[in-house]
């Protein structure tokens, strides 16, 4: 059996760190496969990932070529060569693979089939402007889609089955690719096909049980669930209007989860039942890397209840440090195996203004800094419609890139990175209910566009596209919630606290791995979350929230669960500069801290004050722009890796004070001894650099 755990995949209880890279066999000359794989091994990679394109293997309906006609399509032979070379494999058979293929990995006939196409809110096709051809989104609610996919799986799964580890090389299978409505993230774009609407109605029925329950909430007079048409644009005016729209947003999450679950089950039924099945969400790149964009329509915690592990892909430039930090911290906070299924190694040609190798170095170190435990480099060997890989399609080496990837793998191996764990006693949480509200109140629909959305908006809902209405609340929660998360994110960073990111779909058991939860709270909060927060506090944790204490549940019905447990008799005022800034309530073994102005003040100092004595690791730093994380070696407590990042375009002389003074410090990338002055780590950080310091302490 192969099982994912925090630090890697375990094959028969033996840990296999997952540091791999993508190679596309069908795009290379088969005579070169061996040579190319040797180059991959030469960089220290032990794992190869590959898509398996339905589009390429299906010659015509029900006729497939696996090397009989074109030798480059012999996936069986390719996997056998991987086995001979001792390489493990992550197989990615789709059905959707994108892969910069003309038809996104599907046979063209599938895309052209109206029965399989998704429909927009205006009942039209929903076209993604991709290169080299625009394509219509498909409906993953269509029965015909699953029937067609089953035929593909019937053909490909038996080939993969032969190569399952431990006898074979295959240690994991990815189901589909970057499933997110074909980049039609905008909630009022898709999927309004008949089959999707039917599933939406079933979703409502399961949620509300009776039509009366739904009518009571929606203030409607439906007789049957089957007559409910989903919202096709946002037209809400008051909070009582909102559940109808928010349910559509929640349904869109379920749609993705259920589709992936069904595809994964289809794989398992075809013999892939004892290898991990995983998925890669697309990189949610809002402007500057939106802090809240990792939730709806994605739902990593829920999807991991169906699949073995789930990650987000990352293709960033150095200027987007906070984006990388956000995504990695979220995956680390939520996933059972923090893995980046596609991690930048070159880019596609229509990635505009591509970065340099220095960008890839900075992004790689950022990901390691914030706790990633596995990744697959995409693409480690170049091919048609890709540029900037360390190995060219004819097997030549690009020295600078080859050397860089080799160095990364050397360090990971030499220092046993899998044995280190990032310290983060704090979880900063996105409240999925508020994120759903934000998505629900989008005013402008627009399709996905790989060139650039014509109107210039981010595909993720944000302040440029959403309603500013208060809906009867004191403030427009859909806008203020992002500000709250953002100020907490920056406040914690400035104060020297590292944290994980999570969201309110996480189980209470997962939350209990942390000492402190920080989240925005407004007039409403789901009953479940109110109860979870109380349990977390009673169990000894600290909950920091604000600017409102919830008095309503997610249906906007009165619910004072949290508030009524905050007893004035167990309340302590929190002051800063002589002013009251919040209240700390003792609850069980822990506490709830309420900050009424969480959204208005820069909360860094307030958070710093509150977190004193909360057991959260803090570093002292002479410049708030520096970011620091500490990774403890779980096997050797005296060894730490301390990452120090300068995510700015200025040189910074850093002085870092840790909780104890190391006896020696070495920067491991440059293999350089670092000065300890007055007990502090002293180092010069050039623009956009990250230093990885191995700190040895007394007794280590």
């Amino acid at each position: 059996m192969i099982k994912p755990r925090y630090d890697g995949l375990y094959i028969d209880e033996e840990r296999t760190p997952v540091h791999g890279g993508e190679v596309h066999y069908w795009r290379l000359v088969p005579e070169k496969w061996g040579e190319v794989l040797d180059k991959v091994k030469g960089m220290g990679f032990t794992i190869v990932a590959t898509y398996i394109p339905w589009e390429i293997h299906e010659v015509k309906k029900s006729v497939f070529d696996f090397g009989e006609r074109e030798p480059s399509k012999n996936i069986d032979k390719f996997l056998t060569i991987c086995e001979e070379k001792g390489l493990k494999v992550l197989a990615r058979p789709g059905p959707q693979i994108n892969s910069e293929l003309t038809w996104f990995g599907y046979p063209k006939r599938i895309l052209e089939d109206p029965e399989i196409q998704a429909r927009s809110a205006q009942n039209t096709k929903a076209v993604l402007t991709q290169v080299p051809r625009p394509i219509p989104a498909l409906s993953y609610a269509s029965e015909k889609f699953f029937k067609e996919t089953a035929e593909w799986y019937d053909i490909i799964c038996p080939i993969l089955r032969k190569h399952k580890a431990p006898q074979g090389c295959m240690i994991g299978v990815q189901v589909d690719n970057e499933m997110g409505y074909f980049f039609h993230i905008n909630p009022y774009m898709v999927d309004y096909s008949d089959s999707s609407i039917k599933k939406y109605q079933e979703f409502l029925k399961e949620k509300y049980r009776t039509i009366e329950n739904l009518n009571g909430l929606y203030r409607t007079n439906y007789k049957f669930f089957e007559e409910i048409d989903p919202p096709r644009r946002f037209e809400g005016r008051e909070k009582e209007d909102l559940p109808y729209y928010i349910d559509w947003i929640e349904y869109r999450e379920h749609y993705l989860i259920n589709s992936l679950d069904r595809l994964a089950r289809m794989m398992r039924e075809r013999g892939l039942d004892d290898v991990p099945i995983f998925h890669n969400y697309p990189h949610p790149l809002g402007p500057g890397g939106s802090v809240g964009a990792t939730t709806t329509p994605f739902n990593l915690p829920e999807l991991e209840r169906k699949l073995d592990f789930v990650g987000f892909d990352i293709y960033s430039r150095k200027e987007l440090y906070d984006h990388v930090k956000t995504i990695i911290s979220y995956v680390v906070g939520c996933s059972r195996f923090p893995f980046i299924p596609e991690f930048i190694a070159g880019v596609w040609p229509w990635y505009f203004w591509p970065g340099k190798l220095k960008d890839e170095e900075f992004v790689t170190k950022s990901a390691l800094m914030h706790g990633i435990k596995g990744f697959s480099r995409y693409m480690i060997v170049e091919r048609n419609k890709w540029m900037g890989s360390p190995v060219t399609r004819d097997g030549r080496i690009r020295e600078d890139r080859y050397k860089f990837f080799k160095r990364v793998n050397e360090i990971l191996r030499e220092y046993n990175f899998a044995d280190f764990k990032k310290r983060s006693e704090i979880m900063l949480m996105s409240n999925r209910d508020y994120d759903r509200l934000e998505a629900a109140v989008v005013l402008i629909p627009f399709p996905g566009d790989f060139l650039e959305p014509i109107l210039g908006f981010s595909e993720y809902p944000n302040f440029t596209t959403i309603s500013e209405n208060n809906f009867g609340f004191d403030e427009p929660i859909q806008l203020v919630k992002t500000e709250c998360l953002d100020v907490c994110y920056r406040g914690l960073t400035e104060q020297g606290y590292s944290f994980a990111l999570g969201d309110t779909s996480l189980s209470i058991d997962k939350l209990k791995e942390y000492k402190v939860l920080v989240l925005a709270s407004f007039e409403y909060m789901s009953s479940r979350l109110q109860e979870n927060l109380l349990e977390f506090a009673r169990n000894g944790g600290m909950v920091i929230l604000g600017p409102k204490l919830p008095i309503l549940d997610e249906h906007f019905k009165e619910k004072h669960t949290l508030k009524k447990n905050l007893s004035p008799s167990k309340r302590v005022e929190i002051t800063l500069d002589g002013k009251t800034v919040g209240f700390k309530y003792e609850i069980g073994k822990g506490s709830v801290v309420y900050l009424p102005e969480l959204d208005k003040r820069k909360p860094g100092r307030i958070l710093g004050r509150i977190l004193e004595g909360a057991g959260a690791c803090r570093v002292e730093k002479n410049d708030p722009r520096i970011d620091v994380t500490i990774h403890e070696n779980v096997k050797e407590p005296g060894r730490r890796l301390v990452f120090v990042a300068n995510p700015t375009s200025y040189t910074i002389s850093a002085k870092i004070g840790l909780d104890k003074v190391p006896i020696s410090i070495k920067e491991i990338w440059e293999n350089r001894i670092v000065e300890i002055r007055d007990g502090k780590l002293v180092d010069e950080l050039h623009p956009y650099t990250i230093m990885i310091h191995e700190c040895v302490f007394e007794g280590g």
Partner: protein
């Protein structure tokens, strides 16, 4: 014009980045005020960089006039006002998406999308300038897509390659483009000149570049080689043909080979 499955291979990232920086511009990079309204009722009125703005209209009555007014009120912090009527935006995208066909080239589809903005000039409004000239990703060329298509049809023989090389310091390729056209003059190949082909002085090595193109790909029908500063001269010129001719005459730009039909134009 873009083939259904072009080869986009061996592209030099540094050259590619230089081309993007010089030739592409994005509406995202502009300081924008966004006004979203429905039948005149304003639902959204913000600056995309969260700058404070002056809001002297509370209803959209004449979108083009109102966009101009918003722009003039906020000129110091605004490059562009984008004024969108919700229902029109919904219709715009619905119409363009439903016209999709698997057979249509990407550039044709995108061009139709941008052209369609003209049909919505009172509803999808930008100021200064019409939406069609402001929105999305654009190239910084004073030549339109139909003109480019026309030039290709007129001057580029089928099944041939065009290579353009732009150099810095004689031996360094700043940017290049190698475009292969198939029998229908669809772009079937996109790449850049391998930097190993120019090591001393491009004026002595351009023939080697053409040989490399022909050995690696197909027959080269047109090659244009120049220094970066001369490329700028051509780009800034109102009469590009005249500018090309002048530079050729001065020996600053080398055109080799040149299709016969173009040879006549270049003199």
């Amino acid at each position: 014009m873009l083939h259904e499955n072009p080869l986009m291979i061996d592209i030099d990232v540094d050259q590619w980045r230089n081309l993007h920086e010089r030739f592409l511009k994005s509406v995202k990079g502009r300081k924008r005020i966004i006004v979203i309204h429905e039948d005149g009722e304003i639902l959204k009125f913000i600056h995309a960089d969260k700058e404070d703005i002056i809001k002297t209209i509370d209803k959209v009555i004449d979108p083009r006039r109102d966009a101009k007014k918003v722009y003039e009120d906020n000129m110091s912090k605004t490059d562009l006002v984008l004024m969108l009527e919700r229902k029109a935006v919904e219709r715009f995208f619905a119409e363009i998406q439903d016209s999709w066909s698997a057979e249509e080239d990407l550039d044709e589809y995108v061009y139709r999308m941008y052209s369609k903005l003209d049909e919505y000039k009172d509803e999808i409004v930008t100021h200064p300038g019409p939406a069609r000239e402001n929105l999305g990703l654009r190239w910084r060329l004073t030549i339109s897509y139909p003109q480019v298509k026309k030039l290709v049809q007129r001057y580029i023989p089928p099944n041939s390659v065009v290579v353009v090389g732009v150099f810095e310091n004689s031996n360094s390729i700043w940017g290049s483009l190698v475009l292969g056209f198939d029998e229908k003059r669809k772009i079937k190949l996109i790449t850049t000149i391998d930097k190993s082909q120019v090591t001393r002085n491009w004026k002595e090595e351009y023939k080697q570049v053409v040989r490399w193109v022909e050995e690696k790909f197909w027959k080269c029908s047109l090659g244009l080689f120049m220094d970066r500063c001369d490329m700028e001269t051509v780009l800034e010129s109102d009469s590009k043909l005249e500018a090309l001719k002048d530079l050729i005459e001065e020996g600053k730009l080398i055109a080799y080979p040149v299709p016969e039909v173009l040879q006549q134009q270049l003199g």
